[in-house]
């Protein structure tokens, strides 16, 4: 697995782009450890607070190791209109965690997302890069079966 130093080595850009760098680190190791902020800042030639500021601003940047899959449950307007909360409650029960948590078995990180653009087939959720739609409280848990 790639480490932070290698990613920093491989993705030098001028002028430095803090957000793109943090994205690359997360792509490589799954999250951006807060302890690596000084190393990242030094490599980019910016301050620690510049890096910390970008890291805390964006919802998708994580500072803790995620589960094996990222499950993003949509709480957009259309999903609320189709009463998605009931399905969310089923998932939270099944996974044993709330939004922003990691499931008991570490299989899933459960996150909320505001819109996946699947609004015509609400409610929606996304696991890793795949969108799932038009589920009900009854069948929502079956979606999890394909993810080990």
């Amino acid at each position: 697995m790639l480490d932070v130093a290698t990613v920093l080595q491989q993705h030098k850009s001028s002028p430095p782009n803090i957000l793109a760098t943090l994205q690359k680190i997360q792509e490589a190791i799954g999250y951006v450890p807060r302890g690596k902020i000084p190393e990242i800042a030094a490599a980019l030639g910016v301050t620690d607070s510049d890096v910390a500021g970008v890291l805390s601003f964006y919802h998708d940047l994580r500072t803790h190791p995620p589960g094996r899959h990222i499950l993003r449950f949509c709480l957009g307007d259309s999903c609320l209109a189709t009463h998605c909360e009931k399905s969310l409650a089923v998932l939270e029960e099944k996974l044993g965690c709330k939004l922003s948590g990691v499931s008991r078995d570490k299989r899933f990180t459960l996150e909320k997302v505001y819109c996946l653009g699947n609004c015509a087939l609400s409610p929606s959720l996304m696991i890793d890069d795949k969108v799932h739609g038009r589920f009900t409280p009854k069948n929502v848990a079956t979606i999890l079966r394909d993810y080990r």
Binding site: P15, P16, N17, I18, L19, A20, T21, L22, Q23, D50, G53, V54, F57, Y58, H59, D60, L61, R72, C74, L75, G76, D77, S78, C79, L80, A81, T82, H83, V113, Y114, C115, L116, G117, N118, C119, A120, L121, S122, S124, M126, D129, K130, V131, H132, G133, R134
Partner: protein, 483 residues
């Protein structure tokens, strides 16, 4: 036999891949993955060629393959959802393969590169095309400002940070017709004198990112994008709604926190790295090729007096037929919901509709006669925004919905200006209290005052419009806030 199945992420969300795999196992069937028609209520939709054009089978399950081919398919052109539309910007939707340069053609770009840039600006101004991202600013004026602004190099940026919940027209273009966006941007670059462009795509659209990446690579290989003319790069967002605001987007593109800038200076004069930058929404750019091919007068002949052209409306929420509807401005909201949306699903009753995303006003039944155009919506106290239409049924708790909107704004505020940063948090707390049944008349008055402060004092449209759904929900469904 050719079998056409959409490769769009919404179609795939309800099983299009499994259906395609089932056809893949049949001898003689050649599966072709196209873009989506936009009639998502019919997905997975399987189409075949007939002597009278494409015909389709709706809502196909893998288990029905191949037996369903014995049944008579419905001619696409005869399905009312399509036949009542006027499709230009979405003319290729469901028809072509997203990454086929041959099918796309790039005719408008060829024509534009032979035109004087000033003539392109003329056509754009004549077209009266107003930005489709929400602010409805005249695109031709914006382009001209960048052309005339001092500073080199100049940039062209596409805003594909389609964050409005309830909207998906940008997603359909970047996934289904990416060359149309590339072409619109390249024409703009020629008109304003830019050589470099960026497509800023939200991270929630991985399929769109990958399609766009491939499209840019193919266009570069074919010599359509070239450093001598125009080069394009993709930048991916990281889950911040505010980055759909143009100045926050530019900050984010520079790798910083997505904090809104004070305007002026406008991006057209000082944008990316303080250089003149045209930043337009995806649909705006995607409308440009038709304006070049058919002329600005053609575009301004469609629509209403001040809202010219067509608008892709995106139906969502509690509605029978969710999907994308491209029609000239001027149709009423009721016609869209009834004639295209097919009304409410069985067992649910209409309560309210919200147009323009989470910052759009809540309209009750009495406002359904409002015509889809910028002026009438403003007159009715709403916004058209990016054209997302979400229908709510009578099971919706309006106070809880209002609480959700303020929670959304509190989550997504960039924090630069106080009215939005503090106002959204306080409004959320008041609404939480109201939802618990502890609200008073004083709370409602305070909420209203807070809303006015946000509207008047916020730097950008997030804080400026966030009170709209809350105030309109209270105006039309006040009883539910007094519990």
């Amino acid at each position: 036999m050719k079998v056409y199945i959409s490769d769009d992420s919404s179609a795939r969300a309800v099983g299009a891949d499994r259906v395609a795999a089932a056809f893949g196992r049949i001898k003689d069937a050649e599966v072709i993955r196209t873009s989506a028609r936009g009639a998502f209520f019919l997905e997975p939709l399987v189409e075949i060629d007939t002597s009278r054009g494409r015909a389709g089978y709706p809502n196909v399950q893998p288990s029905q393959v191949p037996a369903l081919l014995k049944k008579e398919p419905a001619l696409i052109s005869k399905i009312p959802f399509f036949s009542k539309q006027t499709r230009f910007t979405f003319a290729n939707a469901g028809v072509t393969e997203p990454l086929s340069i041959e099918q796309y053609g790039f005719k408008a770009l060829k024509k534009a590169r032979g035109m004087d840039p000033l003539k392109i600006l003329d056509e754009m101004k004549k077209s009266n095309l107003r930005g489709r991202g929400g602010a409805a600013f005249p695109a031709g004026v914006k382009w001209q400002t960048t052309r005339e602004a001092d500073g080199e190099p100049k940039y062209v940026v596409a805003n594909a940070d389609e964050g409005d919940p309830g909207a998906y027209s940008d997603r359909m273009i970047i996934e289904g017709d990416p060359y149309r966006l590339i072409e619109g941007m390249a024409i703009c670059a020629h008109a304003v004198g830019a050589k470099k462009g960026y497509v800023y795509i939200r991270g929630e659209y991985p399929a769109g990112i990958s399609k766009m990446r491939n499209a840019i690579a193919h266009a570069a290989d074919a010599g359509i994008l070239d450093h001598a003319f125009f080069e394009l790069e993709i930048f991916v967002g990281s889950g911040a709604y505010i980055c759909g605001e143009e100045t926050a987007l530019l900050e984010s593109l520079e790798g910083k926190r997505g904090m809104v800038r004070s305007k002026p200076p406008f991006p057209a004069v000082q944008g990316l790295w303080q250089k003149p930058t045209v930043i337009n929404n995806v649909v705006t750019f995607a409308t440009v090729p038709d304006i070049i091919l058919r002329g600005g007068d053609w575009h301004s002949s469609l629509g209403t007096e001040k809202s010219k052209g067509t608008m892709p409306l995106q139906l969502a929420g509690q509605i029978r037929q969710g999907g994308l509807v491209e029609v000239p401005f001027g149709i009423t909201l009721e016609e869209v919901i009834e004639n295209f949306g097919g009304g409410m699903p069985r067992g649910s009753r209409f309560k309210a509709v919200q147009v323009g995303g989470p910052l759009g006003s809540i309209f009750p039944k009495s406002l359904l006669k409002t015509r889809i155009c910028f002026d009438e919506f403003a007159g009715a106290g709403g916004i058209l925004g990016h054209g997302g239409i979400v229908v709510y049924d009578d099971q919706t708790d309006m106070a809880d919905l209002a609480r959700h909107f303020m929670e959304f704004t509190a989550d997504e505020s960039c924090g630069k200006c106080t009215p939005c940063r503090i106002g959204s948090m306080r409004a959320k707390e008041i609404l939480e209290n109201i939802c618990k049944g502890h609200g008073t008349e004083k709370d409602l008055a305070l909420l209203d005052e807070l809303g006015d402060t946000m509207k008047l004092g916020s730097l950008c449209a997030l804080g400026g419009l966030a009170p709209m759904p809350v105030q309109t929900a209270i105006r039309y469904f006040g009883k539910e806030f007094r519990r």
